[in-house]
């Protein structure tokens, strides 16, 4: 059973987001982590491997710093890592998926896993696009996954409940919170990670040129939520204050 995990490095969930002078997200000094949904995907891949044997390859599109997240996956127990540095300032979901699909197309795979969304841009598109390019079925927001006899039985969240689906392999699955509890890398795993292959590729190595992955979507601007206005304290005797409050709710806030 060969499993490929598409993985993204994101800002730490506790990182404070700020914009620089050009209105871009300031990446200076921000600590980076493996996207938590991708962590579920890596964990699931390792569990499938432990049960059915095979090999787990993690693939990411990003700059050299993304190696840290890939190395974490190797320390958790993945066998190989592939990093494609697109050498581009900004990539969109189309570009990322095109690159990932191209990288994966040269590999042996039965299962492709990914996080159902990244916690930074939250677009939830990449795994689905990879499936489309590779011509594979895709099951999103999976909370349970069983593999047997060339098929997968996946439980996914739907509005108000769950749905159990059967799909033949190879297929793409995206991980939702609840799929599993990701392990911590072990100290031995950390030591072994260094010896595992980390294949660094450029677009040219994949036979892609910049035009083929030119983003189709362009970010026009970023802005932060406006600061919350201070609360209002209504003074006075309870009866008077209640009357003023009702008046304010009706006339100022217009909620009643």
């Amino acid at each position: 059973m060969n499993i490929v995990v598409c993985m993204k490095q994101t800002f730490d969930t506790e990182a404070k987001i700020a914009l620089d002078a050009n209105g871009k997200i300031n990446k200076q000094g921000v600590s980076l982590i493996m996207n938590p949904y991708c962590e579920f995907a890596v964990e699931e891949a390792l569990r499938i491997k432990e049960k059915h044997g095979g090999e787990v390859t993690v693939v990411s599109v990003g700059g050299p710093e993304a190696q840290d997240a890939l190395r974490q996956a190797l320390a958790m127990g993945a066998d190989k890592a592939v990093l494609v540095d697109p050498g581009m300032e900004e990539v969109d979901e189309f570009a990322t998926a095109t690159i990932l699909a191209k990288a994966i197309s040269g590999m042996q795979y039965d299962i492709i896993l990914g996080g159902f969304r990244a916690i930074d841009d939250g677009s939830a598109q990449v795994a689905g696009r990879v499936a489309e390019i590779l011509g594979l079925p895709v099951v999103n927001v999976v909370v349970k996954l069983d593999i047997e006899g060339g098929k997968a039985v996946a439980t996914k969240e739907i509005e108000g409940g769950s749905q159990v689906l059967e799909v033949s392999l190879p297929a793409v699955f995206t991980a939702q919170k609840g799929l599993n509890e990701p392990r911590y890398p072990s100290m031995k795993g950390i030591m072994q990670a260094k010896k595992k292959p980390m294949d660094k590729k450029t677009l040219a190595d994949l036979g892609l040129d910049a035009a083929q992955v030119a983003p189709k979507v362009k970010v026009l601007s970023y802005f932060l939520p406006s600061a919350r206005a201070a609360g209002k304290i209504i003074p006075g005797e309870p009866a008077d204050a209640a009357r003023d409050l009702v008046k304010a709710l009706r006339e100022e806030a217009k909620v009643i």
């Binding site: 840290d68 190395r71 974490q72 320390a75 911590y184 890398p185 072990s186 100290m187 031995k188 795993g189 950390i190 030591m191 990670a193 260094k194």
Partner: protein, 379 residues
């Protein structure tokens, strides 16, 4: 000089921090309150390989260096001083002398289950009248046939009761003074070996501290560690290394309290502005940060020297002295930043201040560290 951690050390730091914040931090206050360690945490640490970090994979250790070990103890202690000392005493005071002085058989039998975390380790040295003056121990070991018979008692033994394996120091020849001290490996459950009272401490209250009692406790002669009369040398070398662990613990406690203080100072408002807007408070935080950075460099340097197989006795004493005094100073200031809230158990800085104090006392008081440093510079 290169002030940069390796990729493995960075990943270890991040991993242990994640683990400590997610698994240990939510339980730290309750374990302190109950004076009881939750051993499910130990089992998780064993699974991750935190119970034998600086020992070779041949003995089921992680095969990492002493700097990695110090970073791990620092990160555990950042949220829970008791977790830091649990790992530190186990790794430095019990596993190390067996690793350094044990026979191959002893290592297979005792070091392997310590490294893989199946068993917890402890060391028995201190006695009621032999603290800083370790050579004054009264516990005796008398050779009888193929056994040694131990009599005496030990106090303030960290990890006692929880531990299955003990490295115990006893005199095999009282007439020879410190040259008559020998080290033994003693298993919990050996007839004649029992536990006295549990200590109720000011800090590191989740860490178990008991008295050990030996009454005609017969142990096989193959459990002599090193040679007869080598015990004092084993003690001194073990403590040189142990000090790196305690220095790392102190550093972690200081770091944890400092981060709490910085966070609180930004959200606590008085006189219509965050208290961090006051220069007096800013200077306190600046001093805390500076002391911690200095302590970290000393601790990492001592670990580096040990890894480089260079003399590190002076540096580990300096690291332990400076880091523990930093921990006490920083945690005291952190409580001050929190004001009245800092004095309550609603916030962790109160526990951190209590935990910090012991780092100036155990594994050599600050006064003993100064003796060691002076002896090194005047020799």
């Amino acid at each position: 000089m290169i002030f940069k951690l390796t990729e493995e050390q960075e990943l270890l730091k991040k991993t242990v921090r994640d683990f400590a914040e997610s698994e240990i931090a939510p339980k730290a206050a309750e374990m302190d309150e109950k004076e009881e360690y939750d051993l499910s945490l130990w089992n998780k640490m064993a699974e991750m390989g935190l119970t034998g970090i600086p020992y070779p994979e041949d003995y089921e250790g992680a095969g990492m260096d002493n700097l990695s070990y110090a970073i791990a103890v620092e990160e555990l202690s950042r949220v829970c001083g008791s977790s830091g000392v649990l790992v530190s005493a186990h790794t430095s005071l019990c596993a190390w002398p067996i690793y350094a002085f044990g026979t191959e058989d002893q290592k297979k039998k005792y070091l392997v289950p310590l490294c893989n975390g199946e068993k917890i380790g402890a060391m028995g040295l201190t006695e009621p009248s032999a603290g800083s003056d370790a050579a004054a121990i009264k516990t005796t070991a008398v050779k009888e046939g193929n056994s040694y018979v131990l009599n005496g008692s030990k106090i303030f033994i960290t990890n006692a009761y929880l531990a299955e394996t003990y490295v115990v120091f006893a005199s095999t020849d009282r007439s020879k003074g410190h040259r008559g001290i020998s080290a033994f490996i003693v298993e919990k459950g050996t007839p004649g070996f029992s536990f006295g009272k549990k200590e109720h401490k000011m800090g590191i209250r989740a860490s178990a501290t008991y008295e050990l009692v030996f009454e005609n406790c017969r142990i096989p002669e193959e459990n002599l560690l090193g040679e007869e009369g080598q015990g004092f040398k084993i003690v001194m070398m073990t403590l040189d290394g142990g000090r790196i662990g305690i220095a790392a613990q102190a550093l972690g406690i200081a770091q944890g309290a400092y981060e709490q203080a910085v966070g609180y100072s930004k959200v606590r408002e008085q006189f219509g502005k965050p208290i961090s807007a006051n220069q007096g408070l800013q200077w306190m935080l600046a001093d805390m940060a500076t002391q911690i950075e200095a302590a970290r460099l000393l601790v990492y340097q001592a670990a580096y020297l040990k890894d480089a197989k260079q003399p590190y006795s002076k540096q580990s004493a300096m690291a332990k002295l400076f880091a523990s005094e930093t921990a006490m100073a920083v945690t005291t200031k952190a409580v001050q930043v929190f004001g009245g809230y800092g004095y309550t158990r609603e916030y962790p800085v109160e526990r951190m201040m209590r935990d910090a104090k012991i780092t100036e006392i155990y594994e050599g008081t600050s006064e003993v560290q100064r003796m060691v440093i002076a002896a090194n510079i005047l020799k």
